[in-house]
């Protein structure tokens, strides 16, 4: 029984924090969010060099041979820095399916390959895409919607209905195919897109019924990753709120001396710590393939997303009018928190799953 990080893991966090703080000071957030791609593309090889893209890929395949616990540390720190880029898509959403294509893992580790998961609603496990065999190729036809980072990646992992049921396919992006229409979404740092397949070439990664297992594992990873990201978002919002409460004066005192402010921030601290505990628990369960992984991931995502939203809302309130302006970075954290909350399903839906597990019925 030891719920603490190893010195190596602590070091990974320190490294991540310091790299991201230097490279992405708050002042740069607006620039990146309003850029054409919404991504500082030059950062990707560096993320690979730091060992983050291949953290859980085996050393034989060019990775670091670590686990989801280490990836979790990276997710939390990327959330804290509001990193925009296909790390979540590649490492949380695509990696489980890419495990079926060992040739690609080395490319992920080296930073040469990014991908996302293109399901009909970016979260459902069903499929509105059809896969059809054409000689020794597979062709995909159909539409996936609200696909994260679709405009940024080289390939799509696609759950599609083939002759024997739902399989997982890989469609690489070539000659502007498949068609990607990036939508105007609230969180400009993690955009969503509609992806249309019109007999686009694909490679079968996993046939049914193996595909279903990978889809379930993908969902658990995604939920846990977002819980960790939410913890990063919440703790940054808390830090901004605390900083402001110490320096802003009204009626001759720093506003942090008023309990209406300080107790709000104390509540954010408490909820962030509880969310952190749940998120680390979920990360460990996933790393160990523990039997509680599904429940832990659901609980962590539901709780941490709501905690992050509340943390940002309280931070905005503490900042007063200033926190409500476009120029202040807080709204970008808030919008990411709302993005996380909306992914997969609402907290209420996760709680319904948990109730099912503990109450039956």
């Amino acid at each position: 029984m030891d719920f603490s990080f190893s010195p190596e893991q602590d070091q990974l966090r320190t490294q991540a924090r310091s790299f991201l703080e230097k490279r992405y000071p708050l002042a740069r957030l607006a620039e990146i969010a309003t850029s054409a791609d919404g991504w500082d593309r030059a950062s990707w090889p560096e993320l690979a060099r730091l060992g983050w893209t291949g953290a859980s890929i085996s050393e034989a395949q060019g990775g670091a041979g670590l686990s989801f616990v280490e990836e979790g540390i990276v997710f939390e720190e990327l959330g804290r820095a509001l990193y925009a880029g296909p790390y979540f898509s590649t490492v949380a959403l695509a990696l489980p399916a890419l495990g079926c294509a060992p040739d690609l893992l080395a490319k992920v580790a080296s930073g040469a390959f990014t991908a996302t998961f293109a399901s009909p609603a970016a979260n459902a496990s069903g499929a509105a895409v059809d896969g059809r065999r054409d000689g020794d190729r597979w062709l995909l036809r159909g539409e996936a919607d609200l696909v994260p980072d679709a405009g940024l990646v080289e390939a799509f992992v696609v759950p599609a209905r083939g002759p024997d049921g739902i399989g997982l396919y890989l469609a690489e992006r070539r000659d502007a195919r498949p068609l990607v229409r990036v939508l105007d979404t609230v969180d400009a740092t993690r955009r969503l897109a509609r992806v249309t397949f019109e007999d686009d070439d694909a490679r079968l990664l996993a046939a049914p019924p193996a595909a279903a297992k990978i889809i379930a594992a993908t969902r658990r990873r995604a939920l846990a990753a977002l819980a960790l990201e939410a913890v990063g978002v919440a703790s940054r919002a808390l830090a901004l709120g605390v900083e402001h409460a110490k320096s802003r004066e009204q009626f001759g005192r720093p506003i942090g001396a008023y309990q209406a402010v300080s107790h709000k921030l104390a509540d954010t601290y408490v909820e962030t710590e509880l969310a952190r505990s749940l998120a680390y628990w979920a990360a460990w369960c996933i790393a160990e393939d523990d039997g509680e992984a599904e429940l832990a991931a659901s609980a962590a995502k539901a709780y941490a997303a709501e905690a992050a939203v509340a943390a940002c809302e309280r931070a905005i309130q503490v900042h007063g009018g200033m926190g409500f302006t476009w120029d202040h970075p807080l709204h970008r954290y808030y919008k990411r928190a709302l993005w996380i909350e909306s992914f997969d399903r609402s907290g209420a839906a996760h709680r319904a799953d948990i109730a099912q597990a503990i109450l039956g019925g």
């Binding site: 609230v186 969503l192 909306s342």
Partner: protein, 386 residues
């Protein structure tokens, strides 16, 4: 106690409702803000029509061009406006804040000069109270007002000023002297927004829109005649402005909430009809709306009896803001992931905008923290918390 309209009230409501049904321009129904010159032209025209039909200044004395009616008619007016999803008169700052302040503290020449044009929307007003360094703590304003010869010179910065980008005049609270008691040494001026040295910069919000403005004053000359009240007596004048803001403010808020709850009910029917959790939360919002509505009626009865707005204005603002935040969030939860998409005319984009905008509700026009202080100190008589 009678919750029904009396005969005269019923007639007023009937006439107004029919008038609104006939006259509200399509482009203004459910509008989101006076941005863009086209909307603005429509808005000026709409305000002029409201004035011509006798709906501007309902509670202003007849001698100043008002209708001289009891407060309940202003309440009825706001209810019907909300029901029709019609925009208010463009000159709400003039009608609700500047005008009543001029009526209370202005000289006869000031009344003659300003009041009629407020009603007709010929002149639009804005408010210059808040500053970057003084949000909740109004008495700490630092914009300098100096008397130099026969005019005042104004230097400083104001913020959170609605309508400033289209306003002709500004009611400004500035500091004319440094005093130990910071409520003294304040001076209240009427500033021509076309004066040299006035610069308005729109302030972009979390929604991406610019509904408020910053106003920069650099050596702006204001004629002595534009002084309202006494030099150094600005605090008392400003209190008149703020107390009028709270007069029937609650009705505008309950009206807005009524529209929001009706839209929420429609959304829930369409997308989450069978979800027990959603049903419970919708019912809560409906109950809260009734509670706010009938609290307003109680406030109105007291206002008509005493002439002084009671604490219900603070209650209404506090609860409306929190209700609006809750219900817009419920709406985006009902919509789900689709609410991430910001463009389009449908429910997702509408509710997303409303939800983001709602975060300002607990900050603007008195933060929830300050409102709770006011209730604790002025209503319950608890010691000052600062």
């Amino acid at each position: 106690m009678d919750l029904r309209d009396g005969p005269e009230e019923a007639a007023f409501r009937r006439t107004l409702r029919a008038w609104l049904e006939a006259k509200v321009p399509a482009g203004l129904r459910g509008f989101r803000g006076w941005s863009g010159p086209a909307a603005l032209a429509l808005g000026r025209d709409w305000s002029k029509r409201l004035a011509e039909a006798g709906y501007a200044g309902l509670t202003w004395p007849k001698e100043y061009g008002g209708a001289g009616r009891p407060w309940r008619y202003q309440a009825l007016y706001l209810e019907e406006l909300a029901r029709a999803e019609a925009p208010q008169h463009l000159g709400v700052i003039g009608l609700g804040m500047a005008g009543p302040t001029i009526i209370a503290h202005g000289r006869p020449d000031q009344k003659a000069r300003y009041l009629a044009k407020i009603l007709s929307a010929e002149e639009i007003w804005c408010q210059g109270f808040s500053e970057p360094g003084s949000g909740s703590d109004l008495a700490s304003v630092r914009t300098r007002v100096e008397l130099v010869g026969d005019h005042f010179v104004v230097n400083g910065q104001k913020v959170w000023s609605s309508y400033a980008h289209i306003a002709d005049r500004c009611i400004l609270l500035g500091r004319s002297a440094t005093t130990d008691e910071k409520h003294e040494g304040l001076t209240y001026l009427i500033v021509d927004m076309k004066s040299p040295g006035v610069e308005v910069r729109p302030l972009r919000q979390i929604t991406g829109e610019a509904e408020f403005n910053e106003i920069f004053f650099t050596d702006v000359e204001v004629p002595k005649a534009n002084l309202l009240g006494e030099v150094g007596g600005g605090w008392r004048v400003a209190m008149t402005t703020l107390s009028h803001e709270r007069g029937t403010f609650g009705f505008a808020l309950a009206g807005a909430l009524d529209v929001a709850v009706r839209k929420l009910v429609a959304l829930a029917r369409e997308r989450a009809g069978a979800d027990a959790l959603v049903r419970d939360r919708v019912a809560r919002e409906w109950i809260d709306l009734q509670a706010l509505r009938y609290t307003n009626y109680r406030a109105l009865a007291r206002l008509e009896r005493t002439g002084v707005p009671g604490p219900e204005g603070s209650v209404a603002k506090l609860r409306w803001s929190e209700a609006n935040q809750r219900l817009t969030k419920l709406a985006i939860e009902i919509i789900g992931r689709e609410a991430q998409v910001a463009d389009g005319d449908g429910a997702p984009a509408y509710w997303r905008h409303q939800q983001l905008r709602s975060r300002g509700n607990t900050i603007e026009a008195g933060t929830s923290e300050i409102l709770r202080n006011i209730i604790a100190e002025r209503v319950l008589g608890l010691p000052r918390s600062r």
